[in-house]
Symmetry: C2
């Protein structure tokens, strides 16, 4: 199981290629609740989400063959892999399910990637990508089920802890890459809380069952958080270090998106506002004096969709 040292090493490797994203400190009473201390705008990361960190780490830590890289993704990981491949000079083929937003597909193409839209859900796109990688010999870059990828993602937690002081970090969960990386990075000393929508309870159900289980996915965040099963190495880290798991409604996510725009002029996609939604809706209730932080982890959406 990877730990803080692995995340520190990953951060050292990717640092020249990723952005130190800004943090906004919020006074008590902001956004209608009393206790958040800081939001990290990882939505301003290269490629538009935290996924840029993991993709760069995978490509920098691997020998990439002439056939380049292949990724399958609900969208954000694909964008990140395509971006990193372009920057580092590799070919990229990206497999996405047909539900992926037009904004995400357009962005993939703008990075020079070949885009394959296959399957109604992520699992089908992933199966097609694995078949293709076996044919071409390209490096398969997993969206989340790879400690090399999530060690890169975890660098966001080390960076955040340098920028602000907090007791608790709320993290949105899809396949478990971001939360596994954050937990490995700072989970020994910081309370890590998992937040999922009611339609994408992948980690929540796995924690109840004591092992990764298949979950039926639906709702507003299905695009970015819609992995139907938590990753195996991700679950291993999460089961040990995630201290609480909460669910929020799609309506709470929409309210958090609107509040981010109206109060802060920040655009977030649904998954990017999910951590904040848990605070605003009271799904997670901090103790008096508890300093809570969360990541605004992505903004790959149409900007007009947030109001």
């Amino acid at each position: 199981m990877i730990g803080r040292k692995d995340v520190e090493a990953a951060w050292g490797l990717i640092r020249p290629h990723v952005r130190r994203t800004p943090v906004i400190e919020l006074p008590a009473g902001s956004l209608g609740f009393g206790s958040v201390s800081a939001l990290k705008l990882e939505s301003l990361q290269v490629s538009g989400t935290f996924k840029g960190r993991g993709a760069f780490h995978k490509l920098l830590a691997s020998k990439v063959p002439p056939a380049g890289i292949i990724a399958a993704s609900g969208g954000n990981h694909g964008v990140a892999a395509a971006y990193a491949a372009r920057v580092l000079g590799h070919k990229a083929e990206i497999f996405v399910p047909t539900i992926s937003s037009p904004a995400k597909v357009a962005r993939l193409k703008s990075y020079g990637a070949i885009v394959h839209q296959i399957g109604a859900v992520y699992a089908e796109a992933r199966a097609a990508s694995e078949k293709r990688a076996a044919e071409t010999g390209a490096l398969m870059v997993q969206a989340y089920e790879d400690p090399v990828v999530f060690a890169g993602a975890g660098s966001v937690a080390l960076e955040f802890a340098e920028q602000a002081t907090f007791d608790t970090l709320l993290v949105a969960v899809g396949g478990g890459g971001l939360i596994a990386g954050c937990a490995a990075a700072i989970g020994e000393g910081t309370k890590i809380v998992a937040v999922e929508t009611e339609g994408t309870p992948t980690l929540h159900e796995a924690l109840r069952a004591g092992r990764p289980v298949d979950v039926k996915i639906s709702g507003i965040a299905a695009d970015a958080l819609g992995a139907s099963r938590i990753g195996v190495p991700n679950f291993e880290v999460a089961a040990k270090l995630v201290r609480e798991s909460v669910l929020v409604s799609d309506d709470a996510v929409r309210k958090a998106q609107r509040a981010l725009w109206e109060e802060l002029h920040v655009v977030a996609e649904p998954s990017g506002a999910t951590g904040l939604a848990a605070l605003m809706a009271g799904a997670y209730r901090p103790a008096p004096g508890e300093r809570v932080a969360t990541l605004i982890c992505g903004a790959n959406t149409e900007p007009g969709s947030v109001v």
Copy 2:
């Protein structure tokens, strides 16, 4: 004429009420040009623009009567004055021209202000506000033509200089509040460049004439940059400390708005992207090695309008 010490004092007074806005450092080659060093996201300031700083300073440095405050504004100053009045517990009446965007008017009302939409241009709304202030005895909070207001605005430059290193600061100009404050704050050691749209050349024409002159305003930024005459104390500071004045087209502003969204996931209103537009369009051409910074100074717009 106010100077750096006045801006430092203003910053000390307003600091508990305003946000330390984040800075994004950009590597060479970002956004299609070679030399920008840093963007300050003042669009994330309380009230959505840099105007929050000046409004808080005016209200904190003045004795506010029971009749409260009155402001006239193309929108952003009114929003800032209403926001500051609400936070500090004063009544507010805001006068805006009829061209002000629905987003800005809705925001004013959400802060509890009484909104008067009067006149096709700013000057008419201002005349109505002055008449009303004479009747009620309320404190008139000028949008820009007041050293107390622009000393507050200038705190953004002191803060920016703490966060990043730059030789040159590009500042969008409307009535001249932001640039007068920034020039007073750091203009002795930093090259201050004024940027206006071709439809709102208020400072540009004043500098050519050697005195404030009336300008016919039009175009994409008329709402926020459309003061028809530069303020007198503002011109005094600008004439001494602004080293270059450039104009950009509305099309260049639109391209800068789109680039901010597509590359950084930042939403800016037209005036907020005007400084960046001068770099992207080559209206300002830095010397080799010159470190250039600019303020993304506002985001009071419909988020869907930027793409």
